[in-house]
């Protein structure tokens, strides 16, 4: 069907929304509560657009296109409405961007800057309620003062993670997210996967270690999770040569999701003080390992294996590969066993 957006004639697909159609055409409409395929409750109203023949502005995220629609996405009226939305959100938002984990990576902050909303003209009432932070969980925390009640976390946990561990609660006239990160976190359904935090557009629900870095200080390296065979794609977040975080990337088997092992257990070990950093040779007399040079360790290895091979044949030697390591490593390991050990005594831990 044909519709018109900002004066452009556009072919739109039956059943799609104004937002989907605009984004496909490269026309940016701001959203906060919207999460594709997961959340289209249309509650934040930041995505409103002007529709010819309609008195009211309509939310682009959940309004379906109709033949002949004429839409303005950035008219003065629309922009004023968006400023008002941000203004009202800020009136109940008590955060200080300077000390916030999400500074530089926050969608609320981004749109406030884009629409020139620096301070709010309204006084909210939430602050007086003094809602408590929930941050006893080892990895995750929730700060109600920064929450805009968009429910992206709630919908992610119930529809995507499929766990239903985080809810929209009510306290008097206020909604507040019932996050499972308080003192009783051990007795909740939460699996600590952090997919809710990855979905949060603000600094309300965060992975705690974000405190250690700001968006502009880091580089991201796309890789594959080293734990299980699901093969989730993720980005290692690197600051000054150290890995400080891991975030889910949109891979074919994980679609942006990670579990607790991928998100929180995949990098602390890399530069752990327990890493072995030098070759070690055991002193037979004391039974203790002593630091050696690569030359010493490799020539001892080669000469001892050669000795055994010469005396007892290659079948007296074996080499096992780890099924946690890279294909390239494993290929070379079996090549080593076959070419220089002289046997086919090579295997991996597939059976364990």
């Amino acid at each position: 069907m044909q519709i018109t957006i900002n004066g452009r004639n556009i072919e739109a697909a039956e059943g799609s929304t104004i937002l989907q159609t605009a984004r496909r055409e490269g026309i940016e409409i701001p959203t906060l509560c919207y999460l594709e395929g997961v959340n289209d409750i249309g509650s934040c109203r930041l995505c409103v657009v002007e529709l010819s023949g309609s008195e009211e502005l309509v939310p682009a995220c959940n309004t379906k296109v109709k033949e002949g629609m004429v839409i303005l996405t950035h008219s003065e009226r629309v922009k004023a409405a968006r400023r008002m939305v941000l203004n009202l959100l800020l009136s109940e938002h008590y955060g200080d961007c300077f000390s916030c984990e999400k500074n530089g990576d926050c969608e609320l902050q981004k749109y406030c800057i884009e629409y020139g909303v620096e301070t709010t003209e309204f006084t909210g009432a939430r602050k007086e309620k003094n809602f408590k932070k929930k941050d006893a969980h080892p990895f995750l925390s929730y700060d109600p003062d920064r929450c805009i009640e968009c429910q992206r976390c709630v919908k992610t946990c119930s529809h995507v993670t499929g766990r239903g561990a985080i809810w929209l609660g009510k306290t008097g006239m206020f909604s507040i997210i019932d996050a499972p990160f308080g003192e009783d976190w051990k007795n909740t359904l939460c699996e600590s996967c952090g997919n809710c935090a990855q979905a949060c557009p603000t600094g309300a629900l965060t992975v705690k270690r974000r405190k250690a870095y700001r968006a502009w200080e880091v580089e991201k390296v796309r890789t594959t999770c080293p734990h299980c065979a699901t093969g989730c794609q993720m980005d290692l977040v690197v600051k000054n040569g150290k890995i400080v975080d891991a975030v889910g990337a949109d891979g074919p088997s994980n679609h942006g999701l990670l579990c607790v092992k991928g998100r929180s257990g995949s990098f602390d070990f890399v530069d752990s003080p327990e890493r072995i950093r030098y070759p070690l040779i055991k002193n037979k007399a004391t039974g203790e390992f002593e630091r050696a040079t690569w030359e010493e360790a490799l020539s001892l290895t080669a000469s001892k294996f050669t000795e055994i091979k010469n005396q007892y044949g290659g079948e007296a030697l074996a080499g096992f590969a780890c099924s946690r390591s890279a294909n390239e490593d494993i290929y070379m390991l079996q090549k080593m066993v076959r070419t220089v050990f002289g046997s086919n005594n090579t295997d991996n831990c597939a059976r364990v």
Partner: protein
């Protein structure tokens, strides 16, 4: 897996899970199964424990551990009896059906119900639900393979899928959910005693010659010894020198005492490791390698999907790329192996491994692939890869029914050791924990070993939930904490194997599967006592 994670979770009408607990072992697959149930797919869980997904299942068959073959044979008996078989598929695409029919004739639901300890009518319901769904995958994991009859268990599940024509289509297939990140790749790469890279059998004419030519060196033509069979050979001195790259058999192999004895019998023992593991402590030389975050390379996931890992950091010290270490040893032992980059090594892999023939780092990083990896078989640089196997035709041409008979586990409970113990994984740790236990938060959540006991058993022994207790088998004894619940059946208990203190493998049985030499981790007999 014959299929992809996406199609079996997003395009299936029913899912049959056997001996797999993806919510813990493969959590992101578990999440997608929960999405499937939410969108209305039916779920059948076949597992001796009340795993969490069992609560959402339409049918949960809580069978006795070690009875998978009987279960599958019972399913097939019902398919035949109730006319649920796919006769067209069977006649066009399979052979040996008559023998299969004969083999399952005796497995009536009543008899299977008795062997497995389940309600025959529930088995009937499960058979009908699976067979009549248009699209239904079988998913299985170590709960099927970690038995001395594991190979028969796997064959039986394939037989089952063949009989109802659920192979070679989206949302179907027989799908082993492989354990470690690159266990698929390790097998693909030929780290196995009877196969070169790409499952090219040593015993097959011309294969050894092919590699002799490619590598320019004479090779041993005799099949090697499987890792699990190597340990007894170390004790009797047939194997005297061992190189272990990154494995920790002391922690992960069954019957820990026996493994330690074997490694201590070696004349010379070298490990390439990141950490001072229990196994590394026994070595003569430790060569420090590097982790996935410090190198370029690829992992192959359970869907046969080859994906990249990339170097993010370098750490202080003298640790070296593992391929550098192997190359150095090759040269020092007389084989002239040039130092290659991981991308160059992948080019060599592609040259000698038909199923990887079209895979290169350059292509994996290209816009064409778009970060989605390549699924083997991918025989040529212009081949898009193979998301679903056996479409229209089986890899071997025709699907073969391989009948299997139920044989009880090797170690059944008796008066002295009255409980059947199973082992498994929990959500928060990975295998020997060498990586996950470096994260303080993870240890805070799940830092301690435990055993799940049935309420009745606990009551008769006077054991409370949370009490420290002793668990022993014929092979060893440990102390751990009791978690008392209805999760396991009376007479059965369950333990995670991740921990060294109070670790399950001090107790487990090293009886091996007759064909694949997989240890029988899942079942051993134990006794539980108050301290």
């Amino acid at each position: 897996m014959t299929n992809t994670i996406y199609d079996i979770t997003h395009e299936s009408d029913a899912i049959l899970m056997v001996g797999t607990n993806p919510e813990c072992a493969h959590p992101v697959i578990g999440m997608q199964i929960r999405q499937a149930v939410a969108r209305g797919a039916k779920l059948i869980v076949v597992d001796p424990r009340d795993i969490d997904l069992a609560k959402q299942a339409d049918i949960h068959l809580k069978l006795r551990p070690g009875t998978n073959v009987a279960f599958a044979n019972g399913m097939m008996h019902i398919f035949i009896e109730e006319g649920l078989t796919d006769e067209k598929f069977i006649s066009e695409r399979t052979e040996n059906y008559e023998a299969m029919k004969e083999a399952v004739r005796e497995y009536t639901p009543e008899k299977v119900g008795e062997i497995c300890g389940i309600d025959p009518d529930k088995l009937r319901e499960a058979a009908r639900l699976y067979a009549s769904a248009d699209r239904a995958p079988v998913m299985y994991c170590l709960g099927v393979t970690e038995h001395h009859t594991g190979t028969e268990g796997v064959m039986s599940l394939s037989n089952m899928a063949l009989m109802v024509g659920k192979i070679g289509r989206p949302g179907c297939g027989v799908n082993p959910i492989r354990g470690q990140n690159n266990v698929q790749g390790a097998c693909d790469m030929g780290a196995s005693p009877n196969q070169f890279p790409g499952y090219q059998n040593i015993s097959k004419e011309g294969i050894v010659e092919k590699f002799e030519k490619a590598w320019g060196v004479a090779l041993n033509h005799k099949e090697g010894t499987k890792a699990t069979d190597c340990f007894p050979k170390m004790i009797n001195k047939e194997i005297r020198g061992l190189f272990i790259f990154g494995e920790d058999p002391v922690r992960t192999d069954p019957n820990t005492h026996h493994v330690i004895k074997a490694l201590e019998s070696l004349d010379f023992f070298v490990v390439d490791e990141l950490f001072m593991t229990e196994t590394a402590k026994l070595a003569d030389v430790i060569l420090p390698g590097i982790s996935y975050a410090e190198k370029e390379g690829t992992f192959t996931n359970t869907e046969r999907r080859v994906q990249r890992i990339r170097k993010a950091v370098a750490i202080a010290g003298e640790a070296k790329p593992d391929t550098w270490i192997f190359t150095e040893i090759m040269n020092r032992m007389g084989y002239p192996q040039p130092h290659l980059t991981p991308a160059e090594i992948m080019d060599e892999i592609a040259l000698v491994t038909p199923s990887y023939g079209g895979i290169s780092h350059g292509r994996l990083d290209s816009e064409e692939v778009g970060g989605r990896g390549l699924q083997w078989p991918c025989p040529a640089a212009d081949h898009p890869g193979t998301p679903i196997m056996h479409v229209g035709k089986f890899a071997r041409g025709i699907g073969y029914f391989r009948p299997a008979q139920y044989v009880p586990s090797t170690e059944l409970p008796d008066e002295e050791y009255p409980l059947t113990m199973m082992t498994g994984r929990i959500l928060y740790h990975y295998n020997a924990c060498a990586m996950t236990d470096k994260t303080a938060g993870i240890n805070e959540i799940a830092g301690e070993s435990f055993i799940e006991l049935n309420t009745l058993d606990a009551k008769s022994l006077g054991i409370e939930d949370g009490e420290k207790i002793a668990v022993s088998s014929r092979r060893g004894s440990i102390q751990t904490t009791a978690h008392v619940s209805e999760k396991t059946r009376a007479g059965e208990c369950w333990m995670p194997f991740h921990y060294i203190e109070g670790g399950a493998n001090w107790l487990t049985n090293d009886a091996l599967d007759g064909i694949s030499s997989t240890p029988e981790y899942k079942v051993c007999a134990v006794k539980v006592e108050k301290l």
